[in-house]
C-alpha cells in the first residue's frame, strides 16, 4: 500500500484530505499539523508521496519540502498553495523539483488524479531503475562468460 504524508497547519485541511484518501483510495495517509513532526516521521518511515501546505507559521512549504527531499529523495513532492503564494510555488517547481502545485480550494477528483498518476509514475520509475540494475548485472555476467570463452579458446 502506498503511503502519503500530508502536512498543513490547519487541522480542517489535514482531516479533509485524510478522509478523502481513506474513503476514495487504498493509500495510507498520515497527517501532521507540525512540519517538524512530519520531518521526524520521515526519518523513521518511508513515504511514496508528500503533500505540504505553503504558508505555515514555522517553516514555509518550500523549505519543508526541500528538507523532506534530503531525507527521502524519491518521495514525490506536491505543494498546496493559496492565493497569495502562487508565484513562489511556480518558482519552487524548478528549485526543489516539485511534481505539481495544487491551488486551494482543490477539486477532489483532480487531486486524486494527480496523486494517482504521480504514484504510478514513481512505481514505473522504480521498476525501470530495478530493470536497469538487473540489465547491468546481466551485462556483467555476460562479459565474464565472454572472457571465460576467450580464455578457453586461446
Amino acid at each position: 500500500m502506498s503511503k502519503i504524508l500530508i502536512v498543513d497547519d490547519e487541522e480542517m485541511v489535514t482531516t479533509s484530505l485524510r478522509n478523502l484518501f481513506r474513503l476514495r483510495t487504498d493509500y495510507e495517509a498520515i497527517t501532521f499539523t507540525s512540519p517538524e513532526e512530519a520531518l521526524r516521521s520521515a526519518e523513521r518511515h518511508m513515504y511514496d508521496l508528500v503533500i505540504s501546505d505553503y504558508l505555515m507559521p514555522d517553516i514555509d512549504g518550500i523549505t519543508f519540502l526541500s528538507r523532506f527531499k534530503e531525507a527521502q529523495p524519491y518521495a514525490i513532492r506536491i505543494l498546496l498553495t493559496g492565493y497569495a503564494d502562487k508565484e513562489s510555488a511556480i518558482r519552487a517547481i524548478n528549485e526543489i523539483g516539485l511534481y505539481q502545485y495544487v491551488e486551494k480550494p482543490w477539486d477532489n477528483d483532480a487531486l486524486l488524479m494527480i496523486v494517482k498518476n504521480a504514484i504510478e509514475k514513481a512505481a514505473l520509475l522504480r521498476t525501470l531503475e530495478q530493470k536497469i540494475l538487473e540489465l547491468r548485472a546481466a551485462q556483467g555476467s555476460l562479459k565474464e562468460f565472454q572472457n571465460e570463452l576467450i580464455r578457453a579458446f586461446i
Partner: protein, 228 residues
Amino acid sequence: MSKAPELVHELRTPLAAIRSNHDILEKAFQSLRAHLGTNPGDETLNLLAIVEESLRISRLARERLEAVIRSVREERRQTNLHDAIESALALLGHELKGRIRIVKDFGDITAVDARPDQLHQVFMNIILNSAQAIQGTGEIRITTRQDGPMVRIMISDSGPGISPEIRDRIFDHGFTTKGAQSGMGLGLVICHKIIEDHAGHIEVHSDIGKGATFTVVLPAAPGAEKEG
C-alpha cells in the same frame, strides 16, 4: 497596504475543507442511497436525513464563503452605510423576527469609499453574532454618528456581555464560543480583515451583564455629502 490578498488567502483554506468534505459527503450519500434496499428501516432513513441536512448546511457555508471571496474583487465606490445596514437587516429578518427588537438611531453621516457587498457582510456577521448572544428575547440598537473625518457605527446588544478573556480573542482566527457544530470562528475574523482593508477598525466594549457593543469606524469618503 491592501489586506485583500491576505483575506482571500485565509478564506480559501476553510473553503477548501468545506468543498472537499461536501464532495465526499455527496458521494457517500449517493452510494448509501444506491445500496439501500426497497424497504429501508427508520434508522436508515434518519441517517439519510441527517446526511442530506449536512449537505444543505455545507452548501450554504460554501456559498457564503465564495460570496466573500468574490466581493474582494468588487470595485470600491461611495457607499451609503445606512443602505448596507438595512440590507443586512432585511436578510436577517427570519433570524430576528419575534425575538429581537431592532432600534435604529441613525445620525447624519457621510458616505464611505467601500465595497458595498463587503460592508453588507460585516454588518450581517456582527448583527448575527449579537442576535446569537441574546438568550430568548432582547434588543439590538444600531447607532450611526459622524465623528470628524470618521463615521462610527455602533451595534449594541442586550445579551449577557463578553468577558475580558473572550474579548481579547474575539478577532482571532478560529476562535468561537458556539461549539464545533455551530461556528468555525470565521465571522468576526472576516469582519476585522474587511474593515482593516477599508482603512478602518472595529472596537468591542462590554460589561458583564450589560451587553456588548461593536463599533465599526470607517473613514468618510473624500468630498462626500452627508446622507442623513
